[in-house]
Symmetry: C3
């Protein structure tokens, strides 16, 4: 099921336009190359429509947003949607400032967003108007756990129905849902939280997966999520005693570089609810 | 003495707002995670007051500054100071352009800066109006050495008195001083200068240290300085023959990831004058 | 021939002003340090003239350009040219948007550019007005090969004559030409394309090489190109089975860190046509 999704990325080499934060942008570019995609970054209003036109998908990440880049997100997003491109929104820090929350809401309202991917605090801020006290990290109190899994799956499906977008909620357990089905994904390691930008990297890679699988976006989003988590597991196995989060970051991208569809399918741990 | 300072970071997980340059921002985020802190980057005037409000400390770094981000530094800094948050200023390149020097001076005048951390050329530019000819690097002629140590310690204490801020001067020998006491820190390796952004990383980590030790800011600033230098020493011991500055960069962050308060206290080499 | 070029970088420590994209800027800074240069990044119109004045060379890279930074490129470029500094232009993505193409053309017209370095699609977009469909990557159909080498060498020399700049075309085979002579350089590995920013890194390093060899710019540009390719070869030899593009990126910078003029001369594979 995930095999084809990944193989389509490796054979199709989707070109992904990223309007993303400057903190993790280099890792986003390298993981896109690692999975078989090709990245281009452009965030000026004067060129984003042209740039996104030659691409296969658009990854919008609101970390380190500003007035100029918000304008670019809107322009690029409208053009990408008009062309039927995959559009992913990563509402980094939604709930942490009015600017971030309002921008995410506006992008969801004005664009045809294929996938909204965030942590539970960001998604709750958008769906329920709650605010976070931990900045760009999820609040532990909100985490998806085995105890509240039924409730969280229902929340994801409901919000997917409301928004018309695929909803991906990342955490110790990841969810990828449309209105009918929810993938519950168990891959990943807690140590990934000690690296800045695993979520941003997943957003970039996921945009390549949904761009390369236009008829199968939910499965592709789930496949990308499992691939990121599996890469975290594979990378961790090669960690030496003195390796820390900087080396782990490199090893995760390296693991994606060596992964293919069969490895992903064999290593993915998920169920569909 | 340094043990508790580091342990407070590991247990308190201070959330640090960084308005910093785009050259080294990823490393700043990863070293903050490595030491137990949590980073958020936000530099738009429309959100920095809200963002800094939910944080424990603010790290202002004027590398790659522009009119928009200078405005954000001022807004965020005033709010952070009003809330009693730790505020660190890293005057990268002060002396290399009027914009940088004037911005640093203005930030020092208008904000209640807890710590000013720079190399000797930057600090001399601010204190004495001298200019640098080596951009963001310290001029060798200015270096703190055993020969001029008494004079430099006196300079640091005097400038701490004038500014009301803790003064940290980094170099082969590091100084961390208030008006009364000066930590002289001997940790570190010359090879750290071959990595871009060791100073920026120290600024991020130091903000976490002072935020987690509000009653003990001078010791915390010295502890962070020693931790960075010690990480450079530990990382260097694991370097293989073909490893260079890129690998060294990762290994330093990794070393911080594995460090705790006892290791820091055992490895720190310093005296108080 | 390349020996002295590299040695001059190691002994002269040229300070290079970079106005470059935020995707690969950290790697550009670290490779500049690795080769013996010193980087400074500054992109605000209010300071770029002062900053470039204290530098030895200027590296202009139009990836992630915007109205503010384009203005800075022009101001810095005019000042640098007036001072006789080395000025390199890397027209990233020229042909992918009107803004990029027009900016590159304007920089070439208004500045005294020492070297224009790009992939074949970018150079053709500028020389012939063609457009690319692969964003910042070269179109495979355009590649320099043994079959079209004569034609490509002629194109490079002709464009060098037209522009008055040294023309460097990167790809599986690299060309560095003025109107009379063309270095054809065979160093490098295909796997380097799986890393974001090898081209940006080369641009930074090449600016240091031409700044340190003002009487010998063509040879210096060719030497830098060979050094980058050779670093890719050396780095690849130390790759372990699970290493991927993230580790490869670090190992390439590490290889430059350990390279000197004699190693470069011994490892360089090139001819002059």
């Amino acid at each position: 099921m995930f095999t084809e999704c990944f193989n389509h990325v490796r054979t199709g080499h989707p070109l992904i336009h990223n309007i993303t934060n400057y903190v993790t942008v280099n890792d986003v570019a390298n993981i896109l190359l690692a999975c078989g995609g090709s990245p281009i970054m452009a965030d000026d209003p004067d060129e984003v429509e042209e740039i996104t036109t030659i691409c296969d998908g658009l990854n919008i990440n609101i970390g380190t947003l500003n007035a100029r880049t918000v304008s670019s997100m809107l322009k690029a997003g409208k053009r990408a949607a008009a062309l039927g491109h995959a559009v992913l929104l990563d509402p980094v820090g939604a709930g942490a400032s009015r600017l971030r929350t309002d921008t995410a809401v506006r992008l969801m309202e004005e664009l045809n967003v294929s996938v909204i991917k965030g942590n539970i605090s960001e998604l709750k801020a958008l769906a329920l108007g709650s605010t976070t006290t931990r900045g760009v990290d999820a609040d532990a109190a909100d985490a998806v756990t085995q105890q509240n899994l039924d409730e969280m799956v229902a929340f994801a499906k409901r919000y997917a129905r409301t928004t018309g977008s695929i909803i991906v909620i990342t955490g110790a357990i990841d969810l990828a849902a449309d209105a009918e089905r929810c993938f519950v994904i168990y891959n990943g390691r807690a140590e990934m939280e000690s690296i800045t930008g695993c979520g941003c990297q997943l957003a970039g890679m996921m945009t390549a997966f949904i761009a390369a699988n236009p008829e199968n976006k939910l499965t592709a989003a789930a496949a990308a999520t499992a691939a990121m988590g599996l890469a975290g597991e594979i990378a961790f196995r090669s960690m030496q005693e003195t390796d820390g989060n900087a080396t782990y970051r490199n090893r995760i991208i390296d693991a994606v570089y060596h992964m293919d569809g069969d490895m992903l399918e064999a290593g993915a741990r998920y169920e569909i609810r």
